[in-house]
């Protein structure tokens, strides 16, 4: 696809802006900003990827994955609003998912150890883990609040923080995994996943594209589970103070 044909698709944006003007939605400015940002970010990423793929250097690939993990952890930490701490808890949870899932794929030679495989698949895993983190943290706080009477009752009986928060952590873990599982259930029926769509358009054999997509789905389910479980371990103590009193 040439830049010229790509530019033609800007007609979509223009049409949306006209609708916005006509309906006085006041979204034109946001649309311009979004369009420019998406264009610049993706073009830059395109060139960066091209460079990284070309270098095919393990350290460089690892650095790139680490950077992606940091950005995701920072984003997830913002949503946790204090419960997870600023950074390192989501970082540990996402990194654990990435290392385990990606490590497994590489160890059993499911994918070749080349950046052109590692980076896009890492992107999927890390992005999904980030969403799982955000959901987990939101839900943990909500559950602890709605079930606080139960937690206090357990504390009064002498439960330690782990025992008192078990049900709450379990509910939050479950909630954070449901979107991943649900999307796996309808995959291909409702929508074709983005990666597969891209591959098919770029000329890949649909059967091959489906196989890679399945790999992604499985890796993502596992990584959502790993993220939530690790995050559960790291964050439940923060629901309590040092005298084992519930503080959220």
């Amino acid at each position: 696809m040439s830049l010229w044909t790509l530019a033609l698709t800007l007609a979509f944006v223009v049409a949306a802006m006209l609708v916005s003007l006509w309906q006085r939605l006041g979204l034109e400015k946001d649309m311009v900003v979004a369009t420019i940002r998406a264009t610049v970010q993706l073009l830059v990423i395109g060139y960066v990827l091209k460079f990284v793929f070309h270098m095919d250097n393990f350290a460089l690939t690892a650095a790139m994955v680490a950077l992606m993990t940091c950005v995701a952890a920072d984003n997830a930490g913002r949503r946790g609003r204090g419960l997870a701490g600023r950074f390192w808890r989501p970082f540990a949870a996402i990194a654990a998912a990435e290392v385990l899932a990606q490590g497994f794929l590489l160890a059993v030679h499911v994918i070749p150890g080349r950046p052109s495989y590692i980076i896009p698949i890492s992107g999927m895993i890390i992005g999904n883990s980030m969403v799982a983190c955000g959901l987990f943290l939101n839900r943990l706080r909500d559950e602890a609040r709605t079930r606080n009477a139960e937690v206090w009752a357990l504390l009064a009986l002498g439960a330690n923080p782990k025992q008192a928060s078990r049900a709450v952590v379990k509910a939050a873990t479950k909630a954070s995994m449901i979107p991943t599982i649900d999307s796996a259930k309808t995959m291909g029926l409702v929508q074709l996943p983005g990666m597969m769509t891209g591959q098919i358009i770029a000329g890949a054999d649909p059967i091959q594209a489906v196989r890679y997509q399945l790999l992604i789905v499985f890796a993502i389910i596992a990584s959502a589970a790993i993220t939530s479980i690790v995050l559960g371990f790291l964050t439940y103590p923060r629901l309590f103070n040092r005298f084992w009193q519930l503080v959220v």
Binding site: A149, A153, L154, L155, A156, L157, G158, A159, Q245
Partner: protein, 261 residues
């Protein structure tokens, strides 16, 4: 984090001792003291009844004893040891609190009664016996706890706390949803534990008759302060302070007005 080695109770005759204990809450309009300069002590095997108007701070005082709330001012000692230096699991197992609002945990009545032994890795308590002691029919063991009546829940909550075999029992209006007869069963069982196992009890109640029947000692709390403390007999026969006299007078009038239940 506190560790949980078994602690030998220090050789203190005092089950509970408050030394200028207070509780301060910080709200939007500054700090507010909901419990102020509480001092007093209770010997092993004694029953203390706590009375006072609604909002006086009775529940707060109970929760200081097992550190569900922290004394912001002063100190609270249990068996001669400050609550904050106790291993928490041990403290809360031995200082059993029956909360004002009974909360049922998920599952059946039997599940609820099994929780304490599970938490502390102790041998399973006998659900049948626990229920009988609080005047409930053991046939409800397999019922979902959430489906019980208010009075049944109250008694299951008491039985659940007793499953921990506490040596100090804190009861926060534990019979408020019960008829006279069922309340009597509870009172007698608790008194029986006091005699047989030397249980120490702090019993919060709005029922002055009950406070008189059950207590060895009685404290009156008003507006966060303990305004009178003494033996139950002295308290009801010859109250010392103006506040106590007033409280008893109003309560009598209230009860006469409400008629006999």
């Amino acid at each position: 984090m506190p560790h949980a080695p078994a602690v030998k109770p220090e050789p203190s005759p005092w089950a509970i001792e408050f030394r200028d204990a207070g509780r301060v809450l910080t709200s939007e309009d500054g700090p507010k003291s909901i419990l102020t300069e509480v001092s007093g002590r209770l010997a092993r095997g004694r029953v203390l009844t706590l009375i006072g108007p609604s909002g006086a701070g009775k529940s707060t005082l109970l929760s200081l004893c097992n550190l569900l709330q922290t004394p912001d001012v002063g100190e609270v000692f249990v068996w001669g040891r400050e609550v904050r230096s106790w291993p928490l699991a041990e403290l809360r197992r031995r200082v059993g609190l029956v909360m004002q609002q009974p909360v049922m945990l998920p599952g059946t009545v039997a599940d609820n009664l099994a929780v304490p032994s599970r938490l502390h890795g102790r041998p399973q308590a006998d659900g049948h016996r626990l229920l009988q002691q609080v005047g409930l029919d053991p046939s409800i063991l397999q019922r979902p706890a959430e489906e019980l009546s208010g009075g049944q829940k109250q008694r299951v909550a008491l039985a659940r706390t007793l499953a921990n075999e506490p040596d100090i029992l804190l009861v926060d209006e534990g019979t408020s949803a019960l008829d006279r007869e069922s309340a009597g069963v509870i009172e007698r069982h608790v008194r029986c534990l006091v005699t047989s196992r030397c249980l120490t009890v702090v019993w919060v109640t709005h029922d002055l008759e009950q406070a008189r029947r059950v207590g060895d000692e009685t404290w009156l709390i008003d507006n966060g302060r303990v305004v009178e403390q003494g033996t139950t007999e002295a308290f009801f026969e010859a109250p010392q302070t103006e506040a106590a006299k007033r409280f008893l007078r109003t309560a009598e009038r209230g009860q006469a007005g409400a008629g006999r239940r």
